[in-house]
Symmetry: D2
Subunit: 456 residues, 4 copies
Amino acid sequence: MCGIFGISGHKEAGWLSYLGLYALQHRGEESAGIVVRDGNKINIHKGMGLVCDVFNENSIKNLKGDTAVGHVRYSTTGSSCVENAQPFCAYHKKINITVAHNGNLTNIAALRQQMEDKGSIFQTSMDSEIIAHLIAAGCRRNIEENIIATMKSVEGAYSLVLMIDDMLVGARDPYGFRPLCLGKFEGAYVLASETSALDLVRAEYVRDIEPGEIVFIRKDKIDSVKPFCENRKAHCIFEYIYFSRPDSNIFGNNVYLCRKRLGENLVSECKLDCDIVMPVPDSGSYAAIGFSEKSKIPFEMGMIRNHYIGRTFIQPFQSVRDFKVRIKLNPIRDALRGKRLAIIEDSIVRGTTTRARVKTLKETGAKELHMCVTCPPIRFPCFYGIDFPTKKELIASEHTVEWIRDFLGLDSLTYLSLEGMLNAMPLPSQDFCAACFTGQYPEKPPKKLSKEILEP
Amino acid sequence: MCGIFGISGHKEAGWLSYLGLYALQHRGEESAGIVVRDGNKINIHKGMGLVCDVFNENSIKNLKGDTAVGHVRYSTTGSSCVENAQPFCAYHKKINITVAHNGNLTNIAALRQQMEDKGSIFQTSMDSEIIAHLIAAGCRRNIEENIIATMKSVEGAYSLVLMIDDMLVGARDPYGFRPLCLGKFEGAYVLASETSALDLVRAEYVRDIEPGEIVFIRKDKIDSVKPFCENRKAHCIFEYIYFSRPDSNIFGNNVYLCRKRLGENLVSECKLDCDIVMPVPDSGSYAAIGFSEKSKIPFEMGMIRNHYIGRTFIQPFQSVRDFKVRIKLNPIRDALRGKRLAIIEDSIVRGTTTRARVKTLKETGAKELHMCVTCPPIRFPCFYGIDFPTKKELIASEHTVEWIRDFLGLDSLTYLSLEGMLNAMPLPSQDFCAACFTGQYPEKPPKKLSKEILEP
Amino acid sequence: MCGIFGISGHKEAGWLSYLGLYALQHRGEESAGIVVRDGNKINIHKGMGLVCDVFNENSIKNLKGDTAVGHVRYSTTGSSCVENAQPFCAYHKKINITVAHNGNLTNIAALRQQMEDKGSIFQTSMDSEIIAHLIAAGCRRNIEENIIATMKSVEGAYSLVLMIDDMLVGARDPYGFRPLCLGKFEGAYVLASETSALDLVRAEYVRDIEPGEIVFIRKDKIDSVKPFCENRKAHCIFEYIYFSRPDSNIFGNNVYLCRKRLGENLVSECKLDCDIVMPVPDSGSYAAIGFSEKSKIPFEMGMIRNHYIGRTFIQPFQSVRDFKVRIKLNPIRDALRGKRLAIIEDSIVRGTTTRARVKTLKETGAKELHMCVTCPPIRFPCFYGIDFPTKKELIASEHTVEWIRDFLGLDSLTYLSLEGMLNAMPLPSQDFCAACFTGQYPEKPPKKLSKEILEP
Amino acid sequence: MCGIFGISGHKEAGWLSYLGLYALQHRGEESAGIVVRDGNKINIHKGMGLVCDVFNENSIKNLKGDTAVGHVRYSTTGSSCVENAQPFCAYHKKINITVAHNGNLTNIAALRQQMEDKGSIFQTSMDSEIIAHLIAAGCRRNIEENIIATMKSVEGAYSLVLMIDDMLVGARDPYGFRPLCLGKFEGAYVLASETSALDLVRAEYVRDIEPGEIVFIRKDKIDSVKPFCENRKAHCIFEYIYFSRPDSNIFGNNVYLCRKRLGENLVSECKLDCDIVMPVPDSGSYAAIGFSEKSKIPFEMGMIRNHYIGRTFIQPFQSVRDFKVRIKLNPIRDALRGKRLAIIEDSIVRGTTTRARVKTLKETGAKELHMCVTCPPIRFPCFYGIDFPTKKELIASEHTVEWIRDFLGLDSLTYLSLEGMLNAMPLPSQDFCAACFTGQYPEKPPKKLSKEILEP
């Protein structure tokens, strides 16, 4: 997964991009980068790790210029190395092309082969490098037409922020898989994956970039084109379930309120008789609040999150097991002892971390442990950018709910139904991609890709 | 403030101390250090910054040995430099004396003068160096008697973990200002400021070290002495209000449950007609849950905390104001707009951060902002280790509640009464030091010290 | 300027490349990089700074594989940033192309335009990226033919080490501007800019790669092609004068002995009556020894070089002037006071450093200062890889010898004559490029390039 | 061994100390530190490693103040850790005592016991901490008298720079084992181990601090006392042979010229018939020049020193042997092949490095290898600060010259005679300590110390 950010026509573009990436950090912890244009000079700073590790006062100072693109990355494919850090930046006939990409292209192999046949070389395995090649290779009358042609040639999921010389470009694929919003700050246009990034730089939310829309921004002038035919939408439902920040609005609606409704909908499906509702922090917290409010079962912060989790935690030698789970969340024994717990979890992927958490909760002396999950079982991989593991590693793909309950060590386990989940969404059901639950992908995935991911 | 940790007779003493300090990080972010004894060799690693910055895999590997003492520090006095990082470590006649101290001694000036008159020199301004001198200077028959004599000669607040050759020592002043607990892990005794440190190393809680008690631990043998006459207790009430972790038990009781009761007690004192109860995260969260449960006003996570707050946030150049407040907490506009909010805050010290928060909340379009504080106004400085600012900087010392309400931009401001606070505590009122609220110090502070702090 | 290294078919290829770059460090201090092939995996480590700063134990360990290419760089053109660090590494149809280049191509602008017209994009401004593009773009039957075609299409100076999948390639331009030698170590072929790199890895010197020759190495098999017509040679004479290490053999002959002869030839041209011959260390030392031996004037180390010169010397605030010159070389007053000095300098480029040195020597109380330079005045820029400044900044381009003598503060200044210099060389005069002295470039430089460099 | 530096009354005292330590780096590479007094504030920066690694622009900026003391350390005793980095800095009755020490005290055990009996504690095993204790413990009328009393109570070798509040103090033991000189720069007095440190800060040499002298400096006022009876001198002869910089004057005379004379004196003792005289660089270079001049045998730089030797050279995995020797010095084959070499070495301690060098030289095809050493065999350990190994590890202590010649693989080996060495010195023989050659120590070493060192 990735987070993208762009700003045009602001003299502190570099520093504002740094702030924007800070707000989008949860979308990618592996690498971070910012590219700023200062007159004809391009300033780049990229590195492995968190935003606060990659940038320091000096590197921010060097990011002078008034148009900028930023990126945080969690690799779905490709190896984890600084060469693969985005934004991708290249030159074609003295025109600088900078690409920040969120999503996953599905016809990349074919596109790459075409270009290699014409003699192109590639330094990375990133989608963003392909996009830069396509923009350069186009022989349309102008750069805007080249960009449109590029968007038409790629398939799959993409939200893009581009900087082509002094023009900032925002684009979303016709399905609208990934979010992208437009804001304004002191006269400068801002593009960001989520509105919480606008909040942090104090930009006012203007609107979402629409599915299939491309906006061309030059200083304070913005032009929009919609080169695609009307299409069904396929917003990633997992952005609401888990991925986006609760304080963000995505696809035009608030995430926190949506998660509360998921918790409310769980109440009637679970029919639990419990003493306490508690979340697995932090992502389960908002559904737990909704669950408590609806069910009248008291809400408790049964586990406390340690705010000092370092990036490089040192491995134990032998004595202490499960310490990584326990250093992050510590249960409050005195509040849980002897109680029947309704534990609200946002989702279960592999099940290994959940299992360790349940074990820790049991040791407190809690009487019964019931888990309620705010979505159905995840049974299918994602081709559009969520870095789920392969089918084999998805616990619900291989096992029944009863098997999983037993594996996790729970007294009961309830997944929210597909209807319960869709009903909690702020948009019509048909506007979402819920393929990870249903296996019904919005477009037929290319054979090779699906083979790789579906049959590991 | 500081956090202390010790372990005796475990072959991974250094690594377990690292884990212990990780759990105590909130008690001191300025420096961290661990001293381990490996046969006759003493291994030391200290540094400025957070535990995760000070230690890396290599430094942990070098902390070989089976008895260890660890310390995290937030300087109350003395300059912020690596020379002042604890544990303090010295030698006297080939005996190693290692001292980790939490609290604040009040007769240090007199003690130091006595020792300097005899020719002693000092490298730091830390209480822990004085304690090492006193232990060495004693001419009692054995080291245990020297330690007892040292405890009798110092005044003020101290919880101590010492390592004297292969003996681990834990001690608390007769008032019991600061917490210190005893645990056991795989046969090894563990000492820690809070039980959450025991939880992380998987140590079983045995009991608290009592006020005025000294325990001498050699491998798996523990001896206890109580050399002081029976005394009144004076547990720091602020440990329950704010300082300790909610998942810790201190002074024998759970912090989370205490904070919930503080919230419950606020309900009747506030008499608010509101739509939503929300905390200032994270420290206000537990009282807010109690407040909601008692008042039946729905609980909302009105602000979301960013978990990626770096230690070295880069300063803005000019455009963005209040970014440090906003990067930490972002309000959820859609959940707050048009609502009357009861905001639960643990305490107000200077008032500046609270003011910025209130401003941010107002911008969401909330209709009314009422703040409820889980303790009375803080009017007096602390001589026993809490690093409150001087009297002049305490907002409630200089101003009326009405003035503060207006300064913060609130519709109403309610502080919990002294009775309401004491009534929520798990121990009798007379066992606490609440001097920061009442000005009634358990022992008369030395003139010089009180002059410095009270009249800046 | 740059240094290049390659090794094929040795299981410690990465570590040996590190050693090789260590020996070639003087050829480029700005950045360093190594690319190793481990089966189908390519391991890359590049960074800004000296070899000892860029690599550490961990990065060397990660450079697993049995074929490797290394590069040290001192940028002649292009900005100084990690993106420009070599070796350049890209992929074309799953074939990895790695390029390490020493020299300067003169028809790069035209080549780049051709490729951009076909849609290629460029990430850097380096010659090595162009070469990778050319190799990929070729549509010959096999990779060897592509490489030959690439060599034929580029003009200017190049010594190259390439790694194309598991094949190591060495190549020199038909003029043979820059050195490149072949060695063998434990059955593995080694390519290096200078023989001192062979010495350090204990490789046996086999022979020089000839001007216009390309060698293809697969494991222990080596094939040579010479696709160019017989050509005049144009070895860079400045490699002997200053650039190469004295313990290296380049162009088949030893540098140290050549420099001694330069000093010997100076004797008859200078006709000095002096008490002492002393070098400006270290590069003038060898000529000074030759001068002393021939003239019978005693040789003294009049200035001592500080071996601890750090890379990041901290700037003075105000008091101390010329400290950068003095920290590097300190004169021995007692050995120079009252003496008439013949100071041997290898060359004078801008003259500023020399001036500071002369001033320092004068302060010792030396009676007369005569400087003898081991080459003629440098009057013309270099198009073939030596990073001389532009014409305006070359002191001898703008001023007479008498003006320079006065500017430097000398009693006399003698440059070795062109004949004196050529006569000291181990190869015929017509085999050298001495254009920086004569302005007679071996091939006509492209108008654009010469305009930029000649008329700044 | 150590280097010390001090400056009083200059507003850039911290930065000048940094320069001074840079010039004294050869006297200690293990740790470095500077303490500066800024009004009543003491600024300290110390660390492990070279001066250029320990200090950066930021740390220099923080070293504000006008009186400073600096130290570089190569530990003779005590473990290598940052706690042992000097200057040592402590407080006694608000008086700051800062100590920088070069040398080795011989009665430290007794002194420490006395102080521990009175209750003192020690944080390090350094002589400088003892000295600080002694100064503080003194109960004389004033600080000057305390310092005098301290000097009288310690035995062994010491050159000291102290800062006691705003007073700078320089002192040497009555034997004058270690050098210490006085300079002046822009009105400020400067103290330094060697004159090359004065040169670098542009200070004018005033005079040496005399053996047994103490100077008290307050701003620009200097007072001298000589509290000791007239004593024999015992200047360390090894400072001239090897330790000091050639561009320094120590004990009032130039080191370079002395080393040249050592080389001259070798000629008559060796009676060699050789083709070439060459040094083992750099320390043997000056004697080799003297040898060549006297013997008329041509001088050659037969081996070239690599100036990029990093501090942290990465260990080879297996293939390459002796690389540490070869990376430092590379022989010039073409200059040595078939030649009879007279190799000038300053001294031989363990013999292992020399052996590797000789092996490398043999591989060049040199015909004969004759080694001439500029001092007699080192047979006895040093109690006064030179970190020779124990007796057992000194090759000449255990073996005959013939055995050593064979071990080193030489055709002949000649050590300069005691008379030849003393005769080259600029001062009378009786003014030197040559105990490492003769075993005749100036004062009887304490039994315990000699036992430890002499019989390992």
